[in-house]
Amino acid sequence: MNTHSVALDTGIVSATRTEALKAALIAAVLGIGLVFLTGFAHSLVLHNGAHDTRHALSFPCH
């Protein structure tokens, strides 16, 4: 393996890493959004609909 191919490999690895971090960020935002809606949102409809889930999964409720 010469220097060129090592540099190429490293480039591929860092590109994959950037892509993974981007995907992780999107997943995290979506995931936190969902958990916020079911576990934390103060909207009456969301609270009442998710009431039993909030109690069951020990989110603060009422």
Binding site: T16, R17, G31, L34, T38, F40, N48, H51, L57, S58
Partner: protein, 253 residues
């Protein structure tokens, strides 16, 4: 990559969420319904000044009495799912959505940490997530039945989120960073929310019997533990199954 991440998180969360929704109906939901009978009786007793027998009417049901409507905390409570299929459906949808949300967060964290995602590793991270989102918050804010006394909601929510973040960060430093200083900081982070203390109500006012409340707290923790363990396994499995074909057979160690 993005598609694989979202698909794996969604599928794992969906399957586990459905399983937990069924488990809840036989465990926590039953206890909540029982707790509400006492909560309702407490309201009626307070409103009428005399309660000869426990009325079997649920406080969240559609047929609430005028006595309950007039009691201290009953303001306009908006739409509520009626007991029966409406409530079962609403709870199941909320549980599945929470499970998908947790699944996406778990994958995000595993990717960000650069961990090889297989059922074994995802299970270990799932157990750590259980400690962060259920065990540690439960030490300050026990899972409670409806009708329990509690401090203002926003204060408890802030403490819950802070505790989950501190515990998760602490476990990460303890388990993944080799420096002694990092491990000490990790330990302090885990202890910090409990040294600050959770917001507490000034008095106790639970209407449910202590046995029921204790059973609920323990059951809730078990349900959360099952959720996170299944979610870890499912995320690891789904991630592996959704691997692009050309990479199959390449086993990383």
């Amino acid at each position: 990559m993005i598609q694989r991440v979202l698909k794996a998180g969604f599928l794992a969360g969906l399957v586990v969420g459905l399983a937990i929704a069924v488990l809840q109906q036989f465990t926590t939901s039953q206890l909540i319904l029982q707790g509400e009978v006492y909560e309702k009786a407490g309201h009626d007793h307070h409103a009428a000044g005399n309660s000869p027998a426990l009325p079997i009417v649920l406080v969240h049901g559609s047929g609430s009495s005028t006595a309950a409507a007039e009691s201290e905390e009953e303001e306009d409570e908006g739409w509520q799912p009626a007991n029966g299929w409406q409530r079962v459906t609403a709870t199941s949808v909320a549980t599945v959505a929470t499970s998908i949300g947790y699944g996406l967060i778990l994958i995000a964290v595993l990717l960000a940490a650069g961990v090889l995602i297989v059922p074994r590793t995802a299970l270990a991270w799932g157990i750590a997530a259980f400690a962060a989102t259920s065990l540690a918050p439960a030490l300050g804010l026990s899972p409670e039945l409806p009708g329990s006394a509690a401090a203002p909601l926003v204060a408890r929510q802030i403490w819950w989120v802070a505790t989950a973040l501190c515990t998760a960060g602490g476990i990460f430093l303890l388990a993944r960073i080799e420096y002694t200083t990092a491990k000490i900081v990790g330990l302090l982070l885990i202890l910090l929310p409990h040294l600050v203390g959770a917001p507490k109500a000034a008095t106790f006012k639970s209407t449910a019997p202590a046995e029921l409340a204790a059973q609920f707290a323990a059951t809730s923790l078990v349900v959360s533990a099952v959720l996170w363990m299944l979610l870890g396994l499912a995320v690891g499995y789904a991630w592996h199954r959704l691997e692009p074909r050309q990479n199959r057979g390449v086993v990383a160690t």
